[in-house]
Symmetry: C2
Subunit: 113 residues, 2 copies
DNA sequence: TGCGAATATTCGCACTATCGAATATTCTGG
DNA sequence: CCAGAATATTCGATAGTGCGAATATTCGCA
Protein backbone atom coordinates (compact mmCIF):
# COMPACT_ATOMS: atom_id res chain seq x y z
CA UNK A 1 0.00 0.00 0.00
CA UNK A 2 1.30 3.39 -0.88
CA UNK A 3 2.34 5.78 1.81
CA UNK A 4 -0.03 8.62 0.88
CA UNK A 5 -2.92 6.19 1.10
CA UNK A 6 -1.82 5.31 4.60
CA UNK A 7 -1.60 8.96 5.42
CA UNK A 8 -5.16 9.30 4.29
CA UNK A 9 -6.33 6.48 6.51
CA UNK A 10 -4.36 7.95 9.35
CA UNK A 11 -6.32 11.15 8.93
CA UNK A 12 -9.56 9.30 9.32
CA UNK A 13 -8.38 7.51 12.40
CA UNK A 14 -7.26 10.79 13.78
CA UNK A 15 -10.67 12.26 13.17
CA UNK A 16 -12.09 9.47 15.30
CA UNK A 17 -9.41 9.75 17.95
CA UNK A 18 -11.37 11.86 20.37
CA UNK A 19 -14.14 10.81 22.73
CA UNK A 20 -16.37 13.70 21.75
CA UNK A 21 -16.03 12.95 18.07
CA UNK A 22 -16.78 9.29 18.67
CA UNK A 23 -19.89 10.37 20.52
CA UNK A 24 -20.87 12.54 17.59
CA UNK A 25 -20.45 9.73 15.11
CA UNK A 26 -22.44 7.40 17.31
CA UNK A 27 -25.21 9.93 17.61
CA UNK A 28 -25.37 10.32 13.85
CA UNK A 29 -25.65 6.62 13.19
CA UNK A 30 -29.43 6.73 13.47
CA UNK A 31 -29.83 9.59 11.07
CA UNK A 32 -29.01 13.19 10.59
CA UNK A 33 -29.15 15.73 13.35
CA UNK A 34 -28.90 19.49 13.50
CA UNK A 35 -25.81 20.87 15.19
CA UNK A 36 -27.87 22.30 17.99
CA UNK A 37 -29.59 19.00 18.65
CA UNK A 38 -26.22 17.30 18.79
CA UNK A 39 -24.92 19.82 21.25
CA UNK A 40 -27.96 19.41 23.45
CA UNK A 41 -27.82 15.64 23.27
CA UNK A 42 -24.14 15.49 24.12
CA UNK A 43 -24.01 18.43 26.46
CA UNK A 44 -21.28 20.32 24.67
CA UNK A 45 -20.26 23.93 24.44
CA UNK A 46 -21.36 25.48 21.20
CA UNK A 47 -17.88 26.42 20.04
CA UNK A 48 -16.40 23.13 21.07
CA UNK A 49 -19.00 21.14 19.17
CA UNK A 50 -18.51 23.30 16.14
CA UNK A 51 -14.78 22.74 16.25
CA UNK A 52 -15.16 19.00 16.45
CA UNK A 53 -17.65 19.07 13.62
CA UNK A 54 -15.14 21.03 11.60
CA UNK A 55 -12.59 18.28 12.12
CA UNK A 56 -15.04 15.59 11.07
CA UNK A 57 -16.06 17.65 8.07
CA UNK A 58 -12.51 18.28 6.96
CA UNK A 59 -11.87 14.54 6.95
CA UNK A 60 -15.20 13.95 5.22
CA UNK A 61 -16.33 11.68 8.00
CA UNK A 62 -19.45 13.75 8.17
CA UNK A 63 -21.39 15.84 5.68
CA UNK A 64 -23.56 18.83 6.36
CA UNK A 65 -26.72 20.15 4.83
CA UNK A 66 -27.91 23.63 5.48
CA UNK A 67 -31.63 24.06 6.03
CA UNK A 68 -32.62 27.57 6.82
CA UNK A 69 -31.12 28.60 10.03
CA UNK A 70 -29.76 25.22 10.94
CA UNK A 71 -27.11 22.84 9.70
CA UNK A 72 -27.89 19.16 9.62
CA UNK A 73 -25.08 16.68 9.93
CA UNK A 74 -24.96 13.07 8.91
CA UNK A 75 -22.43 10.29 8.60
CA UNK A 76 -20.99 10.20 5.15
CA UNK A 77 -20.70 6.47 4.95
CA UNK A 78 -22.21 3.83 7.22
CA UNK A 79 -19.01 1.87 6.98
CA UNK A 80 -17.67 4.25 9.58
CA UNK A 81 -20.40 3.14 11.90
CA UNK A 82 -19.28 -0.41 11.27
CA UNK A 83 -15.80 0.54 12.29
CA UNK A 84 -17.23 1.56 15.63
CA UNK A 85 -19.02 -1.76 15.86
CA UNK A 86 -15.77 -3.60 15.36
CA UNK A 87 -14.18 -1.54 18.08
CA UNK A 88 -17.05 -2.35 20.38
CA UNK A 89 -16.49 -5.99 19.67
CA UNK A 90 -12.84 -5.55 20.42
CA UNK A 91 -13.50 -3.79 23.67
CA UNK A 92 -15.88 -6.51 24.80
CA UNK A 93 -13.49 -9.28 23.87
CA UNK A 94 -10.85 -7.80 26.11
CA UNK A 95 -12.95 -6.40 28.87
CA UNK A 96 -10.47 -7.23 31.57
CA UNK A 97 -7.49 -5.54 30.05
CA UNK A 98 -9.73 -2.73 28.93
CA UNK A 99 -10.74 -2.02 32.49
CA UNK A 100 -7.15 -2.13 33.60
CA UNK A 101 -6.20 0.38 30.94
CA UNK A 102 -9.12 2.57 31.84
CA UNK A 103 -7.82 2.69 35.36
CA UNK A 104 -4.41 3.80 34.23
CA UNK A 105 -6.05 6.28 31.92
CA UNK A 106 -7.86 8.29 34.55
CA UNK A 107 -5.64 8.36 37.58
CA UNK A 108 -6.76 11.90 38.41
CA UNK A 109 -6.79 11.30 42.15
CA UNK A 110 -4.53 8.31 42.38
CA UNK A 111 -1.25 9.93 43.27
CA UNK A 112 1.38 7.69 44.86
CA UNK A 113 4.23 6.08 42.97
CA UNK B 1 -22.18 4.40 26.00
CA UNK B 2 -20.16 5.66 28.90
CA UNK B 3 -17.63 8.35 28.36
CA UNK B 4 -14.61 6.44 29.66
CA UNK B 5 -15.38 3.69 27.21
CA UNK B 6 -15.31 6.22 24.43
CA UNK B 7 -12.05 7.52 25.73
CA UNK B 8 -10.69 4.03 25.51
CA UNK B 9 -11.78 3.65 21.91
CA UNK B 10 -10.32 7.04 21.17
CA UNK B 11 -6.99 5.80 22.44
CA UNK B 12 -7.07 2.93 20.02
CA UNK B 13 -7.94 5.17 17.12
CA UNK B 14 -5.17 7.43 18.14
CA UNK B 15 -2.75 4.55 18.15
CA UNK B 16 -3.73 3.93 14.54
CA UNK B 17 -3.64 7.58 13.58
CA UNK B 18 -0.18 7.57 12.08
CA UNK B 19 0.93 6.27 8.70
CA UNK B 20 3.90 4.45 10.14
CA UNK B 21 1.82 2.69 12.73
CA UNK B 22 -0.73 1.69 10.13
CA UNK B 23 2.11 0.23 8.12
CA UNK B 24 3.28 -1.68 11.17
CA UNK B 25 -0.15 -3.11 11.83
CA UNK B 26 -0.50 -4.10 8.19
CA UNK B 27 2.86 -5.80 8.25
CA UNK B 28 1.89 -7.77 11.32
CA UNK B 29 -1.35 -9.04 9.86
CA UNK B 30 0.39 -12.05 8.31
CA UNK B 31 2.08 -13.07 11.52
CA UNK B 32 4.59 -11.95 14.05
CA UNK B 33 7.78 -10.19 13.13
CA UNK B 34 10.88 -9.20 15.03
CA UNK B 35 11.39 -5.50 15.54
CA UNK B 36 14.46 -5.54 13.35
CA UNK B 37 12.61 -7.27 10.52
CA UNK B 38 9.88 -4.67 10.75
CA UNK B 39 12.38 -1.86 10.59
CA UNK B 40 14.03 -3.38 7.57
CA UNK B 41 10.76 -4.05 5.83
CA UNK B 42 9.44 -0.56 6.40
CA UNK B 43 12.72 1.28 6.13
CA UNK B 44 12.53 3.03 9.46
CA UNK B 45 15.06 4.46 11.85
CA UNK B 46 15.61 2.18 14.78
CA UNK B 47 14.57 4.68 17.41
CA UNK B 48 11.60 5.83 15.46
CA UNK B 49 10.30 2.32 15.01
CA UNK B 50 10.80 1.57 18.65
CA UNK B 51 8.86 4.66 19.61
CA UNK B 52 5.95 3.76 17.42
CA UNK B 53 5.99 0.23 18.76
CA UNK B 54 5.88 1.67 22.24
CA UNK B 55 2.72 3.55 21.35
CA UNK B 56 1.09 0.46 19.91
CA UNK B 57 2.15 -1.55 22.93
CA UNK B 58 0.82 0.98 25.40
CA UNK B 59 -2.59 0.80 23.72
CA UNK B 60 -2.34 -2.98 23.57
CA UNK B 61 -2.78 -2.93 19.83
CA UNK B 62 0.28 -5.08 19.63
CA UNK B 63 1.92 -7.58 21.94
CA UNK B 64 5.56 -8.49 22.18
CA UNK B 65 7.40 -11.68 22.91
CA UNK B 66 11.03 -11.68 23.76
CA UNK B 67 13.10 -14.46 22.22
CA UNK B 68 16.73 -14.21 23.06
CA UNK B 69 18.15 -11.12 21.62
CA UNK B 70 15.09 -10.16 19.67
CA UNK B 71 11.58 -9.01 20.36
CA UNK B 72 8.79 -10.39 18.26
CA UNK B 73 5.68 -8.33 17.75
CA UNK B 74 2.25 -9.44 16.74
CA UNK B 75 -1.24 -8.00 16.45
CA UNK B 76 -3.16 -8.57 19.63
CA UNK B 77 -6.47 -9.15 17.97
CA UNK B 78 -7.23 -9.77 14.31
CA UNK B 79 -10.27 -7.57 14.64
CA UNK B 80 -7.89 -4.67 14.32
CA UNK B 81 -6.86 -6.00 10.96
CA UNK B 82 -10.52 -6.05 10.02
CA UNK B 83 -10.78 -2.42 10.96
CA UNK B 84 -8.13 -1.71 8.37
CA UNK B 85 -10.09 -3.72 5.84
CA UNK B 86 -13.14 -1.61 6.45
CA UNK B 87 -11.11 1.51 5.98
CA UNK B 88 -9.75 0.15 2.75
CA UNK B 89 -13.29 -0.45 1.62
CA UNK B 90 -14.17 3.08 2.58
CA UNK B 91 -11.24 4.55 0.71
CA UNK B 92 -12.14 2.63 -2.42
CA UNK B 93 -15.77 3.62 -2.23
CA UNK B 94 -14.80 7.25 -2.26
CA UNK B 95 -11.79 7.19 -4.48
CA UNK B 96 -12.52 10.53 -6.09
CA UNK B 97 -12.87 12.54 -2.94
CA UNK B 98 -10.00 10.59 -1.47
CA UNK B 99 -7.72 11.74 -4.23
CA UNK B 100 -8.88 15.30 -3.82
CA UNK B 101 -8.11 15.17 -0.14
CA UNK B 102 -4.75 13.60 -0.77
CA UNK B 103 -3.92 16.56 -2.95
CA UNK B 104 -4.80 19.00 -0.26
CA UNK B 105 -2.88 16.92 2.22
CA UNK B 106 0.50 17.15 0.59
CA UNK B 107 0.74 20.57 -0.87
CA UNK B 108 4.45 20.75 -0.05
CA UNK B 109 5.33 22.52 -3.26
CA UNK B 110 1.98 23.95 -4.17
CA UNK B 111 2.32 27.45 -2.81
CA UNK B 112 -0.06 30.06 -4.18
CA UNK B 113 -3.19 31.25 -2.42
C1' DT C 1 -33.62 47.03 7.24
C1' DG C 2 -32.15 45.24 11.50
C1' DC C 3 -32.68 41.97 15.53
C1' DG C 4 -31.91 37.56 17.24
C1' DA C 5 -31.12 32.64 16.78
C1' DA C 6 -27.93 29.08 14.90
C1' DT C 7 -23.50 28.09 13.59
C1' DA C 8 -18.64 28.97 12.43
C1' DT C 9 -14.10 31.03 12.99
C1' DT C 10 -10.24 33.15 15.35
C1' DC C 11 -7.11 33.74 19.21
C1' DG C 12 -4.08 32.57 22.96
C1' DC C 13 -2.62 29.06 25.87
C1' DA C 14 -1.66 24.56 27.80
C1' DC C 15 -0.78 20.04 26.53
C1' DT C 16 0.58 16.20 23.53
C1' DA C 17 3.05 14.04 19.51
C1' DT C 18 6.90 13.26 16.46
C1' DC C 19 11.53 13.16 15.26
C1' DG C 20 16.67 12.31 15.29
C1' DA C 21 20.59 12.15 18.27
C1' DA C 22 22.43 10.27 22.10
C1' DT C 23 22.36 6.96 25.63
C1' DA C 24 20.79 2.98 28.19
C1' DT C 25 19.42 -1.84 28.61
C1' DT C 26 19.41 -6.74 27.67
C1' DC C 27 21.01 -10.71 25.72
C1' DT C 28 24.48 -14.09 23.46
C1' DG C 29 28.79 -15.92 22.52
C1' DG C 30 33.40 -16.41 23.68
C1' DC D 1 33.35 -10.92 32.56
C1' DC D 2 33.36 -8.39 28.03
C1' DA D 3 32.18 -7.03 23.31
C1' DG D 4 28.71 -6.42 20.21
C1' DA D 5 24.02 -6.94 18.39
C1' DA D 6 19.06 -5.87 19.14
C1' DT D 7 15.95 -3.00 21.27
C1' DA D 8 14.33 0.64 24.36
C1' DT D 9 14.40 5.12 26.60
C1' DT D 10 15.49 9.94 27.26
C1' DC D 11 16.15 14.60 25.60
C1' DG D 12 15.35 18.89 23.29
C1' DA D 13 13.28 21.10 19.46
C1' DT D 14 9.29 21.77 16.62
C1' DA D 15 4.68 21.04 15.21
C1' DG D 16 -0.07 19.85 16.10
C1' DT D 17 -4.37 19.48 19.08
C1' DG D 18 -8.12 20.93 22.32
C1' DC D 19 -10.29 24.32 24.87
C1' DG D 20 -13.01 28.49 26.26
C1' DA D 21 -13.68 33.29 25.34
C1' DA D 22 -14.60 36.44 22.06
C1' DT D 23 -16.06 37.54 17.58
C1' DA D 24 -17.91 36.81 12.99
C1' DT D 25 -21.25 35.02 9.68
C1' DT D 26 -25.74 33.60 7.94
C1' DC D 27 -30.52 33.27 7.86
C1' DG D 28 -35.55 34.12 8.91
C1' DC D 29 -38.70 37.24 10.35
C1' DA D 30 -41.02 41.41 12.06
Amino acid sequence: MTTPLRAFKAQIFQALAHPTRIAIVEALRDGELAAGALGARLGLEQANLSQHLAVLRSRLVVVSRKAGNQVYYSLRDPVLGQVLDLLKQYVQAHLNETLALLNEMEPKKRRRA
